[in-house]
Amino acid sequence: MTLPSYPVPEGAGYPAGSALSIRGLAKAFAGKTAVDGISLEVPTGSFYGLVGPNGAGKTTTLSMATGLLRPDAGTALVLGRDVWQDPLGAKRLMGVLPDGVRLFDRLSGEQLITYAGLLHGLDRATVVARTRDLLEAFDLTGDARNLVVDYSAGMTKKIALAASLVHAPRLLVLDEPFESVDPVSAANIRAILTDYVHSGGTVIVSSHVMDLVQRMCDHVAVVAQGRILAAGTVDEVRSGSSLEDRFVELVGGHGPAEGLSWLHT
């Protein structure tokens, strides 16, 4: 699957095979540009990584693509449905895990997944069955009846992810799904996502962890200062070196710290 995914000319027709098609999204907060016209094609069935330094505009881009933040310009299509023209149609196809967002954490884990399922309009029998399956898959059955507010950081990410899967979406948009997650839970999440992609689903994740993205994703886009610096398959983007080195090279990093000589024992 080597769809040419960069650059995408604006106004181009919906390329068959794109699960998420971001076109010229732009957003400024109080005059300060956060996202400066980002376009991106996420091929169906791909495991897409969105990497970039803090403040690059990853969260802003994903919020605009999922209907949480109204863009100043541009649009996003989920399997051909416009997120801002046909929000209900697009949202039905999409599972979203926003970053830095509270959960209804005074519900138990079981109640939270049930709630998400019912909000999506599923019938009770389906919700009950899927809630049980998801709790099992994320290894949360033992804590199903504890309040989410009492969960650890890793468990909280897992229950939020489970809630975003309950309506069987075709596309998953995950903002920092591995942040503050322990290695065991991370492996658990990764296995579920990989399995989901193998069965035909599409995942786009944002992350800081280059190593993880290189191992897990087949496509990657590098974002900095609200623009796409490179996008394509992981092999195309890293072009021989490691993704981390390529990333630092693209973004322009800071050398090793000097002036801490007193710290050298």
């Binding site: 933040l69 209900l88 697009a90 949202k91 979203v96 019938d123 009492d150």
Partner: protein, 525 residues
């Protein structure tokens, strides 16, 4: 080290003020309030010098006991406010326990309450400047009282920081503490009337309190002034022993806090108790799910519970107010007022969600379902609640002829108010405590908008229920039951119509402006 801690406390205070104008205003208001009370207290204590010891004694003991009780319960109520010198934060530094102890004690006196308490207690020595021995006893008693105030409040603070990590306790205690605060007005009113009619009872209370750690320190000079030297000596022992005991317990608690910094211990022992709760029996639809979730939050989230706990107390408060002013009509308004409080609580519902509201947005919930669910959850208990509370004053006063009119008004206020609140909360978010914060915390933020929304809502609601108000006024002034029955009919029919209209309009608004509502929730927390 002690000086360091005090400097630190002052620096924290100053920096906090520099960052936050609202807090500065708060401090000024608190200072003015404190100064006002302090002025009255000091004046009173100086005047008490002129009356004989038999009268001055009980008053000073009662006042002192109330002061110490305030210091004792303040940490439970506002845990977190004055934990700037939280012992846990000093755990990483090599500081000897004894110095930390003294520094914390003195640090506790910095601030409006500490300064006011010190000045007020110092003024008691004026009251007892009668003869050398009484004056010395007065100084001793005041010093012991001040020490007890500080040490006991620190001890309680240490104890609750241990417990406060268990979330359930924190929430429970705050809700329980709400009851006496709400009832404080009526209690004070009652106490004043009690003082007028029953001085003996107050004197007896003071006598009992003087033998407890609360009243003993200030009971010492009172006993000396009346010439009961052995009694004074025993009270001195009680006060000193309490101080030593409290200090010892506090140092133990502090030592423990230093080796076990506060952790987010979970209370995992309750597993298996809960099932799906309301999710099991509410309709399996988006609206039903939202109702089930809202109902769960009404029970579990103390921010909602705090609003609820006032509602059943409304008739009690109005009963005392009307009894004091010989205005029985005020008491009859219990139902409509409770209905207003219940209905208006919907206006903050979305704000309480904070960013968790994103789930509704990403799931593509229709605005109408959102509005319906929240209102339905409220109605399950607000409707019967408002009816019962409306009945209370009539059951007490026996004026059943006026009941239909007031019931109509209460139902009208509840239904129209819920409809209005459904519209308002789809458009305006207000600043509320964030999930998990103390329900009593008033976060700084867009308070002007919050205030305008409240006032605007109140005025609009007044217009919406004007027909019911007029009909109730007619039925009360003419004494004709017919007006009352019409009011009941209008309350139900007009109220229901406005309720449905509000939900529909609010839903449409939410559909159009969902992302903007969410953006303002993100900004405030």
């Amino acid at each position: 080290m002690v000086a360091h801690l005090i400097t630190l406390k002052l620096a924290l205070l100053r920096n906090g003020l520099r960052r936050n104008v609202a807090q500065l205003v708060g401090l000024i208001v608190a200072s003015l309030y404190g100064l006002g009370l302090l002025f009255l207290a000091v004046l009173g204590l100086i005047l008490l010098r002129l009356v004989n010891a038999g009268i001055a004694g009980p008053i000073v003991v009662l006042g002192g006991s109330a002061l110490l009780a305030g210091w004792t319960f303040a940490p439970i109520l506002v845990s977190g406010v004055d934990l700037t010198l939280d012992p846990g934060r000093f755990a990483p530094y090599p500081i000897p326990l004894s110095r930390l102890l003294v520094g914390q004690a003195l640090g506790g006196l910095i601030g409006v309450p500490g300064v006011c308490t010190t000045v007020a207690l110092a003024s008691t020595t004026v009251t007892w400047a009668r003869d050398p021995l009484t004056f010395v006893a007065g100084v001793l008693g005041a010093a012991l009282a001040l020490g007890l105030c500080v040490v006991v409040s620190r001890l309680v603070a240490s104890a609750v920081t241990d417990l406060a990590t268990s979330r359930r306790f924190r929430e429970g205690s705050r809700m329980v503490m709400m009851v006496p605060i709400v009832l404080l007005g009526p209690i004070v009113g009652l106490a004043i009337r009690g003082m007028e009619t029953n001085l003996d009872a107050m004197r007896a209370l003071a006598q009992v309190l003087a033998w407890t750690p609360f009243g003993a320190p200030l009971g010492v000079p009172a006993a000396v002034a009346e010439g009961h030297l052995p009694e004074a000596f025993v009270k001195l022992l009680i006060a000193a022993a309490s101080l030593v005991l409290a200090a010892w317990a506090w140092s133990r608690a502090l030592a423990r806090a230093l080796v076990t910094p506060a952790s987010r211990a979970s209370s995992g022992s309750r597993a298996g108790r809960r099932g799906l709760g309301p999710f099991g029996w509410m309709p399996a639809s988006p609206g039903g799910a939202i109702a089930a979730r809202a109902l769960t939050y009404w029970v579990r989230d103390p921010r909602y519970g705090t609003a609820l706990i006032i509602v059943p107390l409304v008739p009690v408060i109005l009963f005392f107010s009307s009894a004091q002013q010989h205005q029985s009509n005020l008491f009859l308004l219990s139902g409509p007022l409770a209905a207003f409080l219940l209905a208006w609580s919907l206006a903050t519902d979305v704000s309480y969600d904070s960013t968790a509201f994103s789930l509704h947005l990403t799931a593509g919930v229709r605005g109408r379902a959102d509005r319906w669910g929240r209102a339905l959850a409220l109605m399950t208990f607000a409707l019967p609640g408002a009816v019962v509370i409306t009945l209370v004053p009539f059951a007490v006063s026996g004026r059943w002829d006026l009941l239909p009119g007031y019931l109509g008004l209460a139902l009208g206020v509840l239904l129209s108010g819920s409809g209005l609140a459904s519209v308002v909360s789809a458009r305006f978010t207000v600043t509320v405590p964030l999930p998990g914060e103390s329900p009593f915390k008033r976060p700084p933020g867009n308070t002007t908008q919050t205030f305008l929304v409240q006032i605007g809502g109140l005025v609009t609601l007044g217009l919406l229920v004007l027909p019911e108000i007029v009909l109730v006024a007619f039925s009360a002034s003419t004494g004709q039951a017919g007006y009352g029955w019409v009011s009941l009919l209008v309350g139900i029919v007009l109220g229901s119509a406005l309720f449905v209209l509000g939900i529909t309009l609010g839903g449409m608004w939410l559909d159009r402006r969902g992302p903007e509502v969410y953006a303002s929730l993100v900004r405030s927390g």
